[in-house]
Symmetry: C2
Subunit: 430 residues, 2 copies
């Protein structure tokens, strides 16, 4: 018969199993992160190549393709090493489905490259194809973050996912800006696209800063002091000005170079983040294995003193959390079990049971916070939709209303979105 302590040990073993899976997933996330970066570079050069009708970046594009092909092979090898057969992978259903999507898109990448090389596809369409592939890869990271069962690892993954998402929006902003500066002007639609991409980045990096550890936050703050970042801010202002501004002749190139420098600096942050993630997984695994070792040791010592594990916990009945803290005067007196174990031993088991219950409660709440941040965007989108349908606002106006309210009340936009959704029928009435 299994004892209370036996089940605590089993719970710990499950936790270790989960952390081992998380370590594998984190390694995968690191690979995906690098792959996305080279794909972003390939997208950028392909874009210029197509826009210049094959006049520019022909050679750079080949270099980028080679880097992508190499990283693709590495990521595919990581996919192949995943344990897909034993069914042990708790988050397998969701993770493997995301990977299936990515693989399906990846399989067609050579065909896409061929069409780009032969200039049989427009720059916009090629960009959209790369965007979809990158979105699929980000989906793998999202799943890893959403299914991680350890709060610290989950926080690190939420921070990383948001950073990657912000960097991807930075990449899209680079392309949108390059097109406008090359054209010499930004019409209203182009300005809106740019604004949307900038605001999206701000949202992502805010969540990143909220969940990343202090070291990473500092590295990120350092990136923001780069001269290229200030230059980008200046050019953003020119691009989004209400009346057309005089643009320098080399504006397009300068924009592209500054944006690229910023993105490369972001890559450094990502690199630190993925390495920190892996160290964190290792550390948590070591700690949890040490815990398990201690518990087993405790279990063995009990077995040795009583001859049976099951009896080890049959000690006293306790009717609530007050029982432990207060003395025997309050009526909750400890009674000896039939096996004659001392109350002290039973009390130790009770401590373990309670500590574990409290720990799970904390884990649950912390995971809830991290996952809520991950789903923040979804919440904001739903609130926007509500405002659009019930107040007749445009998407832009709806978002601005939410953001302005959040700023006025010094609250997170997700909280405002949540309150908006909760007050849905109230909104309808007035």
């Amino acid at each position: 018969m299994k004892s209370a302590l036996g089940f605590l040990v089993a719970a710990k073993r499950c936790e270790i199993q989960g952390l081992e899976q998380l370590e594998v997933t984190s390694g995968l996330v690191k690979g995906v992160c690098e792959f996305v970066h080279v794909l972003q570079k390939e997208r950028g050069t392909s874009n210029v190549f197509l826009a210049s009708r094959g006049q520019r970046f022909g050679e750079q594009r080949q270099t980028r393709i080679e880097a992508s092909v190499q990283m693709e092979a590495a990521v595919r090898a990581q996919f192949d090493q995943l344990d897909t057969d034993s069914g042990k992978m708790a988050s397998g259903m969701r993770l493997f489905s995301r990977i299936a999507h990515v693989l399906h898109v990846l399989d067609a990448l050579p065909g896409l490259r061929q069409r780009i090389g032969a200039q049989k596809i427009g720059a916009d369409e090629a960009t959209r194809s790369f965007n979809e592939l990158i979105a699929g890869l980000l989906g793998v990271v999202f799943e890893a973050a959403d299914t991680a069962a350890d709060p610290l690892v989950s926080r690190a993954l939420v921070a990383l996912f948001n950073f990657m998402q912000g960097k991807e929006l930075a990449g899209q902003e680079r392309a949108a800006g390059a097109a406008g500066f090359a054209l010499g002007r930004f019409d209203t639609a182009a300005q809106q696209t740019l604004t949307h991409l900038i605001e999206g980045q701000e949202r992502c990096f805010r969540i990143f800063s909220e969940f990343a550890d202090p070291t990473l936050c500092q590295i990120w703050r350092n990136v923001q002091t780069l001269p290229e970042v200030a230059e980008i801010e200046r050019m953003r202002r020119l691009a989004c000005a209400p009346s057309p501004q005089r643009l320098e002749a080399d504006a397009a190139d300068r924009w592209f170079d500054c944006a690229s420098a910023r993105i490369d600096a972001m890559r450094q942050v990502e690199d630190c983040a993925t390495n920190a993630l892996l160290s964190l997984c290792e550390r948590k695994l070591e700690e949890t294995r040490a815990d398990l070792h201690d518990q087993k040791h405790f279990l063995d010592s009990l077995s040795a003193s009583t001859g049976t594990q099951g009896a080890a916990v049959a000690v006293f009945f306790d009717s609530g959390s007050a029982g432990l803290a207060s003395g025997p005067t309050d009526g909750t007196s400890a009674v000896l079990g039939a096996d004659g174990l001392s109350p002290q031993l039973g009390r130790s088991v009770l401590d373990l049971v309670r500590a574990q219950a409290q720990r799970l409660q904390n884990i649950n709440e912390e995971l809830g916070t991290a996952r809520a941040a991950l789903h923040e965007r979804k919440l904001v989108d739903r609130a926007k939709g509500l405002l659009m349908s019930q107040r007749g606002l445009s998407e832009e106006e709806a978002y601005r209303l939410l953001r302005q309210t959040a700023m006025n009340q010094n609250r997170r936009i997700a909280d405002v979105a949540e309150a908006t959704l909760a007050l849905a029928d109230f909104l309808k009435r007035d």
Copy 2:
């Protein structure tokens, strides 16, 4: 190299693994449900036994104890059969911790019975001990509901958990009412306890009705037409009347009998619910195994036609969900992969990938709804605490305010609680 389809198959295998675990957990829940019922009966007779100073229910109590001992053995045997070693049980960390808690409390049950038999414990303290044990067992059901990865099974478990919780509150109401009717009066504190237990039941049964299937809801509605239920409502009114009412001499016995009849009828609902749960698990497993079989068959047919699985999905690149619905005229033309597979086959794989993505999205949303209901109580508690600290309300007043607002606005109390929490700083200001 694993293909997209290979990962879809792996995802399906994980899903089956999850359903198999869910089937085992559901069997456990069924056992726990029966065990809780006999413990509730033992608690009731122990209560009368102690209150009558051993004059009443001495024999019945022995019968109840025997039933409890028998069910305890059955539930312990189910615990023992759980796969605690392989680490395959995805929800193991949480489930096993709950079980450890239950086992720890269970081990002391013989000692508790001894003290009750020797009348060395008060009725209140004995009741509290049984309450804690039952709360621990309900915790096992909660965990099963909170970790179930299938929306339908999750809904069934959420319904069952709330029903069990409601039935447990009904049992506590029986005890509280019996004490008051035996005493011949209900003071304000006793009335508040009763009101709290009645409102708690209403909340639980409302959530049950929201998540249970129509058949179960009908069975539950039938229970509510029992003459004993009407009689309980009449006696509740007498007990909670602002001025003391004349109580019949046999009020205590009649209350106890009616409440017991109602609880026994509830047990019938539970029995149907647990059987339906097991059938549901079986059915889902069959369906999912059939799906897997179809996918494998599809995979085999592709392998046969191309000689390699990996190539089977390397077909065409598609740049967004619009690509499938529209024809080749929109520029998203399908291109043949290097392996020369027809676009039709690739399209089938794409269909599978997309269908799975959509399915996971739906599953996630449905699970979110079910789990939110499970955590509704926690939300209401937090909102109550906020109103108490920021508005200086009593717990009773805070709850009434939330409930009244919900009724006025025709919304769920959880939504009102959520809105209250989201508007926290707003509340502070005025």
